[in-house]
């Protein structure tokens, strides 16, 4: 079964992370062509394919959080571990 994701809405990373999360149940091969991110999924189980689609959405949301908060995350970690001795 093949799923084609619009690269304007999804990233390859989201597809790969979703595939990893379901690695115990399905095998997903992620590639790209000129117009889409292509996910080749086996076995063809409709429930698992739905689960994969939901997971891609979640992973895309996670990436969006990361992009928005990466700088502040680094700032918090820098504050947290300055002068603790843990950074040596």
């Amino acid at each position: 079964m093949q799923i084609r994701l619009d690269p304007a809405a999804y990233s390859v990373e989201a597809a790969e992370k979703a595939a990893y999360r379901l690695i115990d149940r399905i095998a997903v091969l992620v590639s790209t062509d000129a117009s889409a991110i292509v996910c080749e999924i086996t076995p063809e189980d409709p429930a698992l394919i739905d689960a994969f689609k939901r997971e891609v959405l979640d992973q895309q949301l996670r990436l969006s959080i990361r992009t928005q908060t990466e700088d502040v995350r680094n700032l918090i970690l820098a504050f947290a571990f300055s002068r603790t001795g843990l950074q040596q």
């Binding site: 908060t69 502040v72 918090i76 504050f79 843990l86």
Partner: protein, 482 residues
């Protein structure tokens, strides 16, 4: 004209997202912030929040702000507070090793199913720790920078090598007169061989006893065979004597969850209550122990254990509701991580992994292991987690050994696939010895990992109870000490 402006007037006009992770929980989501504080939210609101469409007048907005999931653009205060909380969570790491286990003998009067290490042998020289080895290990213990030192003396059955037990206790006290740490010494014993003299010694040296109780007599004796089939009776007799001589709270009990325990959790808890214990640890026990010895691994997977744990917790909630205060310790550890900024520093629930840096094991022959499970693996022929030898290596060599650093590095969850994105990560651990034992890989593939299934299952169960049951929520706050 109204005297007060409506609340919306005070809401910030805009917000900026702070770092957070989420995980599906039933129809909704559970969020955790960088310091591991949880919050429930529905999916559509959370999507709006991430996409910048969330209304600052929404009733959830104050909670999102108070728990540091959002801040006003440019606001510095939440960043400093979060940093402080993160720092508090990891502060214990700077103290380094607290728990030091001494395996004073492999000999044992029991031959328990799950145990990979005990030996039924009369050959003392072969499997007993010598005073010289104990001294070398003690010297290393007091090189730990930790202001609190806990020494746990175990076996086999440590009482079979009592002279060395005494030697360790006296040696630790002597060293501590100079080192001045908060020293706590515990002997892990089945109590079957305990004598009055031993107990008076424990009383005089403030030594606590950690014992084993697997449930009612039939179950306990089945799990813990010994000549005479009287393990439970001996335990009860030893317990009574120890409470009389050492003190009412001097004895704690640890339960080994065996395949035969799976349908008996209420009986097990009843037995703990009957014998005057106020808590229990419904712990999962290294499955490769059972797997290797009894080939009964299927009887004891994450799913089975979770059913056992949930049923036990249900019963404990019932007991508390009926006025019998009783605590489940695995939940207490998780809840402390979820509801407070403290980290209880429990070896299996730590990241970086607790092996070596929170706890270390000195084996009877002087070999040093990163954890108790790792010396079990060694007895099964896998010495991957041997990090040194008290007779050959210095403190620095042991604690900066490649064997230890590789484990710490390769099992680190904040850079691990799936864990790094998981909202449960702040409450989880990494357990590289388990993953190595089961799959040969320190990290394990988390989607297929029994450890991950167990953690996800237990944490989500606790979260659901907190969300749906106000009595449970109150009780859990008490357990966590908040």
């Amino acid at each position: 004209m109204t005297r007060f402006l409506p609340a919306e007037e005070f809401a910030p006009k805009a917000y900026a997202l702070l770092p957070c992770r989420f995980e599906p929980l039933d129809e909704g989501l559970i969020l955790s912030n960088m310091a591991g504080e949880p919050m429930f939210i529905d999916r559509s609101r959370f999507e709006a929040l991430v996409q910048g469409r969330f209304s600052t007048t929404d009733p959830l907005f104050p909670e999102l702000r108070a728990k540091h999931f959002v801040r006003e653009p440019g606001e510095q205060h939440p960043i400093e507070l979060l940093a402080l909380k993160v720092r508090t969570k990891y502060a214990h790491l700077a103290d380094f090793t607290n728990l030091h286990l001494f395996v004073v003998t492999l000999r044992c009067d029991h031959s328990c199913q799950y145990c990979q290490v005990s030996r039924q042998s009369e050959d003392k020289l072969r499997y007993d720790m010598t005073p010289e080895t104990a001294d070398k290990a003690l010297d290393l213990v007091f090189l730990s920078p930790n202001p609190a030192i806990k020494i746990e003396i175990q076996g086999g059955e440590p009482l079979l090598n009592w002279p060395v037990v005494e030697h360790i206790i006296l040696g630790a006290e002597a060293r501590n007169r100079v080192a001045r740490r908060a020293l706590q010494i515990v002997i892990a014993t089945t109590l079957s061989l305990v004598t009055d003299d031993m107990l008076y010694f424990c009383r005089d040296h403030n030594v606590l006893l950690s014992s084993s109780l697997d449930g009612p007599a039939d179950l306990h004796d089945r799990n813990r065979p010994r000549p005479g089939r009287d393990s439970h009776a001996k335990f009860v007799a030893g317990l009574t004597k120890a409470r009389d001589i050492v003190g009412a709270d001097a004895v704690s009990a640890l339960m080994t969850t065996a395949p035969a325990s799976m349908d008996r959790v209420r009986d097990i808890i009843d037995e703990y209550v009957r014998l005057g214990f106020r808590d229990i640890f419904l712990r999962h026990v290294s499955p490769y122990g059972f797997a290797a010895k009894t080939r009964s691994y299927a009887a004891y997977n994450a799913q089975k254990w979770l059913e056992f744990y949930k049923e036990g917790l249900r019963y404990i909630l019932e007991l508390n509701a009926a006025g019998v205060p009783f605590v489940e310790n695995y939940s207490r550890l998780l809840l402390t991580k979820m509801l407070t900024p403290r980290d209880p520093g429990f070896v299996d629930l730590s990241n970086p992994c607790g092996a070596g840096i929170l706890a270390v094991v000195f084996n009877y022959d002087g070999e040093v292991y990163a954890s108790d499970e790792s010396r079990m693996l060694k007895e099964m022929g896998d010495a991957s987690f041997r990090i040194g030898d008290v007779h050959k290596n210095t403190y620095k060599e042991i604690f900066t050994s490649d064997a230890l650093l590789t484990v710490l590095d390769e099992s680190f969850t904040l850079s691990a696939p799936m864990c790094s994105d998981c909202a449960l990560e702040p409450w989880c651990g990494t357990d590289p010895v388990f993953h190595h034992g089961m799959t040969g890989d320190l990290l394990g593939r988390k989607p297929a990992s029994e450890f991950c299934k167990r953690q996800m299952g237990a944490v989500k169960h606790l979260l659901r109870l907190m969300r749906d049951n106000s009595d449970a929520q109150r009780l859990f706050r008490r357990w966590a000490g908040c």
